[in-house]
């Protein structure tokens, strides 16, 4: 088990290094940098801008800049935010909690909804609850996150039941979580439905029913067998949630990594963007690791492997 965790941790290092190089490269490929906007300020001279460019190391070549950054990391320095003139890691750490809370709440909600919808569908194949559940999940999958976010905001505005954006109390968390959970819930519900229908048709399930096992125990056994692909997919879905959070955080004004990523990319605040992307990737890797662990817990066959 510990060896498995170590192996996964070591495997993730090259992924993060390659990713950081890609982000660095993309920053260099696109014309302009953080200081370009300052060049439009008539009261600031080009000499001042060039001095700042030199101070920030933006006048160096891509490999040199990248190498210096890697060297800094070894010393525990993850770079500097040009905009806020303080360590980029400080900015990222201020926001990471927001994203984790939002993603965790959306993920739990997505799993709960997927379980309910998937079970209702699979146990009522061809009847109206199945139709309704399929229709709901199709709608959830087709609905763009931006539209769902704005729709939720209008809902909050017209009813006055919930705050229109912001992030102060648990009430502010409700609408962003729902918006973020909708597509994942729909996707997982459809997968669970298909897997359950398949499992419920297996001879061993029919044998269990024929032997008079209570219905809930039959469904529980079938659910555990049908859960494997859903658990694997849930790990992947978590990555999707993180990218969906970018939009949701922007629209709802939720202070998380998503809005920081967009701002830093638009402003070309290189090291902040880099830290955000790396941390988000790290979360995806961790989520997949936990999905694998859950899979092993759920299925003894995986443990043997």
């Amino acid at each position: 088990m510990i060896r498995f965790a170590w192996r996964r941790a070591l495997e993730s290092i090259p992924v993060l290094i390659v990713l950081s190089f890609i982000v660095f490269g993309l920053f260099k490929l696109v014309p302009g940098d953080y200081l370009s906007e300052m060049e439009l300020n008539p009261t600031i001279s080009s000499e001042t801008v060039e001095k700042l460019r030199h101070d920030y190391g933006l006048d160096r070549s891509l490999p040199v800049q990248y190498w210096l950054w890697l060297k800094q990391i070894v010393k525990g320095d993850f770079g500097y935010s040009f905009a806020q003139r303080r360590p980029a890691s400080d900015l990222v750490m201020e926001r990471v909690g927001g994203t984790l809370v939002l993603t965790a709440s959306a993920f739990s909600l997505a799993l709960f909804l997927a379980l309910i919808l998937g079970l209702i569908s699979a146990l009522n194949v061809g009847r109206w609850p199945d139709g309704l559940s399929l229709w709901l999940s199709l709608a959830g999958l087709s609905l763009p996150t931006v539209l769902a976010s704005i729709g939720c905001l209008y809902f909050a505005y017209w009813t006055g039941w919930l705050p229109v954006g912001g992030a102060d109390t648990w009430r502010h968390l409700i609408l962003p979580s729902i918006t973020l959970a909708i597509p994942s819930a729909a996707f997982l519900a459809r997968t669970l439905r298909l897997e359950l229908i398949d499992t419920l048709g297996q001879p061993y399930v029919r044998a269990a029913v024929a032997k008079g096992l209570p219905e809930w125990r039959v469904v529980w056994h079938a659910l555990r067998n049908a859960a494997n692909p859903v658990i694997s997919l849930a790990g992947v879905t978590l990555g999707g949630l993180l990218s969906g959070a970018v939009v949701v955080e922007k629209v709802f004004g939720w202070p998380g990594l998503g809005s920081l990523i967009v701002d830093s990319l638009l402003m070309r605040d290189l090291y902040v963007a880099l830290n955000c992307v790396l941390l988000a990737s790290f979360f995806v890797i961790v989520a997949n690791f936990f999905a694998d662990l859950l899979l092993a817990l759920n299925d003894p066959r995986v443990r043997c492997r």
């Binding site: 014309p31 009261t43 309910i116 992030a167 998380g256």
Partner: protein, 592 residues
């Protein structure tokens, strides 16, 4: 059985969710109004003509987090909006009448040769932490701004004639500022320099712009503005609280500001801002208000609105006038054929005459923009040249101007092609940013130029990429951009003088590329050294006349400043210049 349980449980979940919504709605989290500290007033407080009620909180939307709490490092508008309310200068620019008035200085006087400025400070003024303000703080401020290591944003403006100002202390409340040569914009310049607290910053060894970041504890910062930074919640909001030592009083001798707090909420999405304003979770919308949204709010019950007039934000169109060689490729920056067209003054004038600005105002800005005739908007009462019309929309005149410089047309009506004197079809590309307003304006210009027989394509790129193209790569035909022009002519030097980095149509010239650019250089230097207001106006007026005739830059429209606020906010004095809706904020109060 299990099926029924499932359906029932999902229904129960829905019901529970509804219940949560309803019960949570009942809770309120209103903050209690703060009680104002009773501190002695400064001996020489400044009296403001206002009478209102004390207390309350104003909620204002910012498009994102400020970058700093240090005015000396504040480049973008969000930081300037927040930090601007926590600082004060020796002199004060009044956005209402656009005049410079007394600030921390109660009086000031120039020597006869204009090279020396004697300033008397108000006595009894204290920083927000209670420490007294003296001439030492003023000296400290200039010393740190001129620090060799520092790259602060005010340093360049403080170099007059390439030399720093010499600041000398005469007594605790008197200083003398010496200029290497007379400076016409001296008073305005001083209205932009925040006075820093020496007692808090003297031990800060790094360059001054690195002090006071967003994680600096509020108790380690102090200022002379009407408010102080009270709390900052990363990614959510910054709260400013009234400065208990503020040095302005109202007509009844009571210490201002009236408001207890200003809460800056970071809301990037414009729809969310509008919804929160309509839900009364925000009190003012100004910089971020879109014309369409403003139109919807005009006449709405329970909302006050005002179209304050043209801002200094100008949408301008220009041709690439670079004729030089790209040192990397040793080839011209611009295709010589196109360069020939653009160097032709008649061609540039014809382009200006073919753009229907009124249509752009109507279709792109829903009517909330003003036709621009010069670089300086009509709202700039000090420097706008009202008698200059420029080459306004007149398609017949455009054709006449082109014919007179050898251009001709082929093809029938509706499918005409403009040919240059050598018989080549005229085609050009408009470079602009990926922004809805810029894109729609470019499309309108494309339509107008195509009516003249010019084939036009549009290239939209992200703003920093566009700036890179214009300032460095210079491989573009024409560009369309909106820019904020400062209200003081000396601050536009970088745009108007031929060697300026922001001389967008042909930046960083070693020597002026044309006679008219040489004349503009001369006039800009002259106006900078004149103290006589009328003579400065005449010199700057001639600059505007030359620009209107030579048309290196075609002013299109100035976006209007639109302000909407909740009616319980009184004495709001929105201005067309920064800080717009928050101008003279010390006099704003809430109806109890």
């Amino acid at each position: 059985m299990i099926n029924k349980v499932l359906i029932l449980s999902s229904l129960l979940s829905l019901f529970a969710f509804g219940l949560i919504l309803l019960t949570s709605h009942c809770s309120t989290d209103r903050e209690q109004s703060l009680t104002r500290a009773l501190l002695p007033l400064p001996e020489e407080a400044k009296t403001i003509d206002a009478a209102g009620h004390f207390g309350g909180q104003l909620r204002y939307a910012l498009a994102g987090e400020p970058e700093t709490f240090n005015y000396v490092a504040a480049i973008e508008v969000r930081s300037r909006t927040v930090v601007g309310l926590t600082t004060a200068s020796l002199l004060e620019f009044n956005p209402g009448d656009q005049r410079v008035a007394d600030g921390l200085a109660k009086s000031w006087e120039f020597s006869p040769d204009g090279k020396e400025l004697r300033i008397q400070l108000r006595q009894g003024i204290r920083f927000s932490d209670g420490e007294p303000l003296t001439a030492d703080d003023v000296l400290f401020t200039f010393e740190r701004l001129y620090d060799e290591e520092s790259s602060n944003v005010l340093k360049d403006a403080l170099m007059v004639g390439g030399e720093p100002l010499q600041v000398e202390k005469v007594s605790d409340f008197e200083i003398v500022i010496r200029f290497s040569k007379p400076h016409g914009g001296a008073e305005y310049l001083l209205s932009n320099i925040p006075i820093l607290p020496k007692h808090l910053l003297k031990d800060h060894i790094k360059p001054i712009e690195q002090a006071w970041t967003l994680d600096t504890p509020p108790e380690d910062m102090a200022g002379l503005g009407p408010f102080v930074i009270a709390e900052h919640f990363p990614g959510r909001r910054t709260v400013l609280r009234y400065n208990p030592h503020y040095w302005k009083v109202d007509s009844e001798g009571r210490r201002l500001p009236y408001l207890d707090e200003i809460v800056f909420e970071f809301i990037e999405d414009r729809d969310t801002q509008l919804l929160r304003f309509k839900a009364k979770e925000l009190d003012i919308l100004d910089q971020l208000l879109r014309p369409d949204d403003f139109q919807m709010l005009v006449g709405s019950v329970g909302v006050s609105t005002e179209d304050v007039g043209p801002s200094a934000n100008l949408m301008g169109f220009w041709c690439n006038l670079n004729q030089g060689l790209n040192p990397e490729t040793n080839k011209p920056f611009l295709d010589p054929v196109k360069s020939e067209w653009f160097q032709n003054r008649g061609f540039r004038q014809a382009l200006s005459c073919s753009i229907n600005r009124a249509d752009i105002v109507r279709n792109v800005y829903t009517g909330y923009a003003s036709l621009a005739t010069t670089l300086i908007p009509a709202s700039n009462r000090n420097w706008h040249a009202a008698n200059i019309d420029g080459f306004q929309f007149d398609p017949a005149k455009a054709r006449q101007l082109l014919s007179s410089t050898g251009f001709s047309w082929k093809g029938g009506h509706g499918s005409e092609t403009l040919l240059d004197p050598a018989g080549r079809a005229v085609e050009l590309e408009i470079l602009t940013r990926t922004d809805d307003v810029a894109g729609r304006t470019a499309a309108m210009i494309q339509q107008d130029l195509e009516a003249l027989g010019i084939a036009v394509s549009i290239r939209q790129e992200e703003m920093r990429a566009v700036i890179g193209q214009i300032m460095r790569a210079r491989d573009y035909d024409t560009a369309l951009m909106n820019m904020d022009f400062p209200i003081e002519p000396s601050d536009i030097m970088n745009v108007l003088s031929s060697g300026g980095a922001m001389h967008v149509w042909n930046p960083l010239q070693v020597r002026p590329a044309s006679d008219w650019e040489a004349r503009i250089d001369e006039l800009m230097l002259l106006q900078g050294t004149l103290l006589d207001r009328d003579r400065r106006y005449d010199a700057f007026h001639e600059v505007q006349e030359i620009l209107a005739l030579e048309v290196p830059f075609i002013p299109i429209v100035n976006r209007n400043i639109l302000v909407a606020w909740q009616p319980h906010i009184k004495n709001l004095r929105p201005a067309s210049v920064f800080p717009y809706g928050l101008s003279e904020i010390w006099a704003v109060y809430l109806v109890p």
